[in-house]
């Protein structure tokens, strides 16, 4: 009790209010800059909210046509929300919690680290809640039609949603807090990115459990199996809905509800009481510049060996070569880029692995190479989008100052870096996995060819749709998560199309004809796209 009082005493309400107001303005306004980057209203946030409202509507219509009970209905809803909110928080939290540029603005002000962390956590919760509300806007009311639903279901569901958002935000903040508490600054830079990847896998994995449970239980209700759901966080919050606004008996719902409340309260307490002081220290450590140990002879040798003849030929344009190097260095060294890039790539890691694990049960094997290659094929596109953003965006003015006619060589350099450092290793790993683990692996590798052929052309899309300059835009709230989610849905659409075409061609025995046609079409498209990108004159700022 005494401790709780002292914690509350260190939270300055006036400062908290001022910081919340400030973060709200920063989140909703986007950024107007004098540099080459675009800014303005957070259009991407509006776009993603619209998308989630639509998905929520579709889901609720679909779920209600099969007449689910409240518990099953809300487990599915909370699982989706857990996934969406968790992924969004993972993508945005780096910018919110560890914004190095903010240190010169706030760190020398008399703000207790608890007040600062609470303000940022509430900011994260508010962001999560906006997304969750968009996704649940229709399901919240459609839930009244679920069997056993009480008239107050929407209100109860809103409360359980708030708790779920607090839980997700608490999980993210505590993960970072633990990382910053136990690791020094040098290790933090690397570990933070990997902890985000871990969190992404947890959120995606948590989401994937539900459809598999539906398959396993071979029914349309989870009610007889409530005890199995104790390990699934979304079910804890579904327990609240089912207890208060559904017809789940208290003896079954209470353990879930208690787990939900205990976990959420524990995370909140842990974040604010235990981890806040180390968060404050961590912030000061982040503003320290790091001294690297001089390169060893071996490292120098390795750097030299990178200049192998094939790479030298591929990067024969000097501007492309330097842009390639710039991207490589930022992917390896810059914390901001790492925090954005690698979690967004975890999406590509988890789904192919799930596909591989499912191979025996669902007879999915023929699709595994297709799905894997197609998903990995969009990886350069996703990485390129991520590499557009940087807190050093003003430095990208160098491209406007330099006598460049077009952004094309810069774009191609960065694109090649994403292919060389991210795609090629991933494809090699995927190839080995498919060939040796998937049922009927080697034969079905042919199915991967249409995807492989399309990759170079698809990787041109970011430069085709818009002028591409790396590290030239400041991150705006919701931009990263909306890009990730947007790309994810785009990937799924593309995948659906190619899976259908390639599979039909394969079973009809015309796969090689399809590949020949695709080669010709992609060759033509590639040439056209490159011409369009090269002919676009570089815009010289505002």
């Amino acid at each position: 009790m005494q401790e709780t009082k002292s914690i509350v005493a260190t939270i300055d309400r006036q400062q908290l209010k001022a910081l919340l107001k400030c973060y709200f303005r920063l989140s909703t306004r986007g950024r107007v800059t004098q540099s080459m980057s675009r800014g303005g209203k957070p259009r991407s946030l509006f776009f993603i909210l619209g998308m989630y409202v639509f998905i929520g509507l579709m889901n609720s219509v679909m779920l209600l046509t099969i007449q689910l009970d409240v518990f099953t209905y809300t487990v599915i809803l909370h699982s989706m929300t857990f996934f969406v909110v968790g992924m969004a928080l993972t993508a945005e939290s780096g910018d919110i919690l560890f914004n190095v540029n903010e240190s010169d603005v706030l760190v020398h002000r008399p703000i207790h680290s608890r007040t600062l962390l609470l303000a940022k956590s509430l900011n994260l919760i508010a962001f999560a809640l906006i997304l969750a509300l968009a996704l649940n806007l229709f399901p919240m009311f459609f839930g009244l039609a679920a069997s056993g639903a009480q008239p107050w279901f929407p209100v109860v569901h809103l409360i359980s949603l708030i708790l779920l958002c607090v839980f997700c935000a608490g999980l993210v903040v505590c993960t970072y807090g633990a990382v910053i508490k136990f690791l020094d600054r040098e290790k933090f830079d690397n570990f933070a990115a990997w902890s985000q990847v871990g969190m992404s896998i947890v959120f995606i994995g948590g989401y994937q459990v539900v459809p598999r449970l539906l398959q396993r239980f071979e029914g349309l209700t989870f009610r007889p199996y409530v005890r199995y759901f104790l390990a699934l966080p979304p079910a804890w919050f579904a327990g609240i809905d089912s207890l208060v606004a559904g017809n789940l008996p208290a003896s079954e719902a209470l353990p879930l509800v208690l787990l939900g409340f205990t976990a959420t309260a524990s995370l909140a307490y842990l974040a604010i009481s235990r981890l806040a002081p180390s968060y404050g220290e961590g912030l000061t450590r982040l503003s320290e510049s790091k001294t690297r140990a001089p390169k060893t002879t071996r490292a120098r040798k390795r750097a030299t060996s990178r200049r192998n003849p094939i790479l030298r030929w591929w990067l024969r344009d000097p501007i492309e070569r330097r842009a390639f190097r710039l991207a490589a260095v930022y992917m390896r060294r810059d914390r901001d880029v790492k925090l954005r890039l690698y979690p967004s790539l975890s999406f590509y890691l988890v789904f192919p692995l799930i596909g591989l694990l499912d191979r025996n049960r669902s007879g999915f094997s023929a699709f595994v190479p297709l799905i894997t290659v197609w998903m990995l094929g969009t990886m350069p596109m996703s990485a390129l989008e991520t590499l557009r953003l940087s807190s050093h965006f003003a430095a990208a003015d160098i491209f406007a100052i330099a006598p460049l006619e077009s952004a094309a060589p810069v774009f191609h350099g960065v694109r090649k870096a994403t292919i060389y450092y991210l795609l090629v290793p991933s494809l090699c790993i995927a190839g080995i996995l498919i060939a040796y683990l998937a049922t009927g692996g080697r034969e079905s590798l042919i199915l991967a060819l249409p995807g492989l052929i399309a990759i170079p052309t698809i990787s041109l899309l970011p430069g085709l749709l818009d002028e591409y300059l790396p590290l030239s835009r400041p991150a705006a709230r919701g931009e990263q998560s909306s890009r990730n989610m947007g790309l994810m849905f785009l990937t799924m659409l593309l995948m659906l199309f190619v899976v259908a075409v390639a599979y039909v061609a394969w079973i009809s025995g015309v796969i090689w004809i399809l590949i020949a046609i695709e080669l010709a079409v992609m060759g033509l498209l590639h040439w056209t796209f490159r011409r369009v990108i090269s002919n676009r004159k570089l815009e010289r700022g505002e």
Partner: protein, 256 residues
């Protein structure tokens, strides 16, 4: 007012600040000089509680920067070299935020902001209507300086405060700084513009490679080193070779 003992900061293998001892009484205007990377900004960041020292102690106004950083922060103002602000806010919103962080009542803050606005020739319309991202560097610097002085701090750290300011604003600021020192404020002025430091600072401290290599009035330093200006004193204490000859040689290489 400021008491530093054996203050040291290491970044990995590099020693940025090496065992500095310094006492600055209240009301003194001290120029902190040094070549790039000498450790000036690191020293200031430790004194403002932004960086934790590796070893040694520092007190500002009797408060320990390690054990009681919040009290230190309450009584100090800091103009960072970066000129960082929240760019999506208007200057008015930004300064109101800063005022709230120091618990200045809103009415008083409004009055203070308007007063600073008049001093720096920033109209209320400009302050309220434009986001800071749309400000010129000089205008933004005026806002940063205002944000450092808004709460009437006892100690002010200026790190290159004249960055981007036009000649008139620079002159006004220099006068303001000397007046504040006369009013009893302790001011640490960090700059590379030596003639300004020579004119306004009553005491000069020179840091080189993390260590303090000189401390005294400009006249004392000139006498100790046998030089005729602060620029020459600085050059003698911090340069390893003949800079003029090196510059001439380099220009010849460039134009060859």
């Amino acid at each position: 007012m400021i008491k530093i003992r054996q203050l040291t900061k290491e970044f990995g293998t590099q020693v940025a600040v090496r065992k500095i001892d310094l006492d600055i009484p209240a009301g003194q205007l001290v120029g902190l000089l040094g070549p790039n990377g000498a450790g000036k900004s690191t020293t200031i960041k430790m004194l403002t509680g932004m960086l934790m020292p590796t070893s040694g102690t520092a007190e500002v106004g009797g408060f320990d920067v390690i054990n009681d950083p919040l009290s230190v922060k309450r009584m100090t103002g800091y103009v960072p070299e970066s000129g960082a602000v929240f760019e999506a806010l208007t200057a008015w919103e930004y300064l109101q935020l800063v005022a709230a962080l120091y618990h200045i009542p809103e009415a008083e803050a409004t009055q203070q902001i308007e007063r600073f606005g008049q001093f720096f020739d920033l109209t209320t319309d400009t302050l309220q209507d434009k986001q800071l991202a749309a400000y010129s560097k000089g205008m933004r610097q005026k806002v940063v300086i205002t944000s450092a002085l808004l709460h009437n701090p006892e100690v002010v750290f200026f790190d290159e405060p004249l960055n981007g300011l036009d000649a008139n604003a620079a002159l006004s600021l220099k006068t303001l700084i000397t007046s504040l020192a006369h009013e009893g404020k302790t001011i640490v002025y960090c700059s590379h513009i030596l003639d300004v430091v020579e004119r306004i600072c009553e005491r000069v401290v020179i840091i080189h490679e993390g260590s303090m290599v000189a401390d005294g009035t400009v006249a004392q330093l000139m006498e100790q080193t046998g030089q005729t200006s602060l620029e020459h004193v600085f050059n003698k204490l911090t340069a390893t070779e003949n800079l003029l000859a090196r510059a001439e040689e380099f220009a010849r290489l460039l134009t060859r």
